[in-house]
Symmetry: C2
Subunit: 398 residues, 2 copies
């Protein structure tokens, strides 16, 4: 089976319909066996690439993220999702590093995904889109850096599903990655996480407006199902402590319960808001495909079930320098998952630092203002830059 | 507003349509202000009541439970939900104690709930049913023990929402309870638990077959929404460790992933089964009302926000003896919640034992074969029976 994609000149810049860059790349063979013809990749860059192309940092986004790391979001008008971490003078300093972020394969912000039109049918792919994997997402990113003439990324960094991509980069292309920072991630999706993903998918598929994935042709959106999926997932992004501190049992604009099913509690109102705003910016089928890619992620599986073997390279240890980060109150990707990755890296004597950041903000801490966390990233990158011999061209730098 | 219920002779036995006992009791005023006329209560009993009526144990069921503690379930044909704990020779020994369990008010197994017919309209109540509270459930149970001529329950015991009822019993009717065993419960529903309940309600309400609660009149059932609600809730009943041990990333009857949205993983298949079997036995509106009752539960709220004050009685400590039980891996009602109850009881110098059972089975441990847990319950009951002066009429007992 070959999935056809719009036939245009190879590597020609294209208009993806969104701000930022777009390019047609390919062909590329997916893990499922499908051969993709040329396909669009939408991406953003920040900072400038050094003449020796050694200062590129690939930022990998999470399930519901996108390429707009620092830009105002074109649909929600909210500020970029990682402005706490990335920018001039920030931990990932765009005065020093050239930051690239692609919308993932399967996404809905310009890169090929299930809502794009299948040239073979003239209709959106819907469920005709092939199931993709984290490795496929990374393959597409590799095509992009090849296109940009970047032989080696100085760093690959990301949280949650972004952290899965970071680990996959290090395993698939160890020579193309100098340093890797997987944050709040794991080397395989746990049974509990597969279970939560499945609840979200079932909520979407239960919505009659989903139409077996053909909702675009029907002129509708399965907004109720997608909202429920987002609500369930959103609970897992926060710690119990954070929810308690933020909302507790506080009532929403009322002094007493109403004995009804309105959102009496602030936490209900907040969740409903999370659900309803998400459906305005995200594609339900993309949600299915991307969660499936996470479920399938299991780095050890292709290495005899031994994770350490994934980090062997030419009979030695991986050349990639790792900084593995977890958050103490993250119950979706708990510290034990990161520790398992670190143990595997230690087993092959890889170069690895491991930091568990003490915070009560849960999984979402990777997106939030966490000074200790940002200091860790900045310090690790500065050390790696020295080893790599990157020039420090920041103003006032020695 | 008065909710009318079938006018029959007060306290007359009735046929609820289910095995076991039924009786019409009332009137009763609900927390929301609605006055219930006489209404049906369905209940089961096991063992026999001593002539002095001192050996009665009220078992309170959880959200999705019912009165069939030891009976084969009339719809699923599965064995009773607490056969591990209750029965001849078990921790709650029906050779010694007279066990009562009512279907909760708002339920769907014979006690008045939203699927019963509203005599005022001739139609099922649906959303016309008044919102009920845990205290209302307990009020209905108190009517039943009054009807049975039981002045004081020897013990009230239950897990999860059953444990909330236990605490409410002790607070509302301290003289009518000799001993209380709240298991895997809390004195107020947490923000995280309200959030999970809200996801379940939104899943049900998102189903077009819900018809704003009028689905019975439409001849349909919101089975997809209710299944999603059950799936999401079910994850919270298990620990991550238990899910991992039970399923891990094992595939369901296949040797490789299918690159599709079928239930590739056993955990997906298991969850789907949990969802689909639940809709066959449970009413979607009951699910809304019962989860709402849990959300509203906050014992401290009516006592100036000070939980200890809930356990003061006539200027002294509550006369009720408590055994508070939690499970180490329960993240829905974590040990910290039980400890807060214990601290409040200690603050008024109440008679309280506290046991955290070490188990990796999560919240559902209260339903499972956990020998240490059952020994705790048996020991506590035996001690209380001595204090209470209950005769030991078991065969071979001294």
């Amino acid at each position: 089976m070959t999935v056809q994609t719009p036939a245009r000149t190879a590597a020609a810049p294209i208009n993806t319909g969104w701000p930022g860059h777009g390019v047609l790349l390919g062909p590329m063979r997916l893990d499922c066996g499908v051969e993709l013809d040329r396909f669009p990749i939408a991406y953003q860059t920040y900072g400038s690439l050094d003449p020796d192309r050694a200062n590129a940092v690939m930022v990998c986004h999470a399930l519901s993220g996108d390429q707009f790391v620092l830009d105002r979001h074109p649909m929600t008008a909210k500020s970029g999702w990682w402005e706490a971490m990335v920018g001039p003078g920030k931990a990932i300093d765009t005065n020093r590093y050239f930051v690239i972020c692609t919308n993932v394969l399967g996404g809905c912000m310009g890169t090929l995904g299930p809502k794009e039109v299948n040239p073979a049918t003239g209709l959106p792919y819907g469920l005709g889109f092939p199931v993709i994997t984290i490795a496929d997402m990374v393959r597409a990113q590799k095509l992009l850096i090849d296109h940009l003439g970047i032989a080696q990324l100085f760093c690959v960094v990301g949280g949650s599903m972004g952290g899965m991509q970071v680990l996959q980069w290090a395993v698939s292309y160890p020579e193309a990655v100098f340093a890797a920072i997987p944050i709040a991630a794991s080397a395989r999706h746990s049974a509990q996480n597969i279970a939560f993903d499945e609840v979200g998918r079932q909520a979407i598929m239960a919505d009659p407006d989903w139409h077996a994935g053909d909702y675009i042709s029907h002129g509708v959106v399965p907004h109720r199902g997608l909202a429920v999926a987002r609500m369930a997932a959103h609970i897992t992004y926060l710690s119990e402590t954070a929810l308690h501190r933020k909302f507790g049992r506080s009532l929403q604009n009322r002094t007493a319960v109403t004995y009804g099913f309105d959102a009496d509690f602030q936490v209900e109102s907040y969740l409903r808001h999370q659900g309803s705003t998400f459906v305005d910016r995200f594609d339900a089928n993309s949600y299915l495909y991307i969660t499936r890619a996470m479920d399938y992620f299991d780095l050890a599986a292709e290495h005899d079930g031994v994770l350490a073997n994934a980090f062997r390279w030419r009979g030695r240890s991986t050349p990639v320098r790792f900084c593995v980060v977890s958050f103490s109150s993250d119950w979706l990707f708990p510290t034990a998952e990161s520790r398992a990755t670190v143990h595997a890296l230690n087993a092959v004597a890889a170069n690895v630092s491991f930091v568990e950041v003490a915070t009560d903000k849960g999984h979402d801490a990777f997106l939030l203002d966490e000074p200790q966390f940002h200091q860790v990233i900045e310090g690790f990158l500065t050390g790696c830059a020295e080893h790599r011999g990157l020039k420090d061209r920041r103003r006032g730098a020695a």
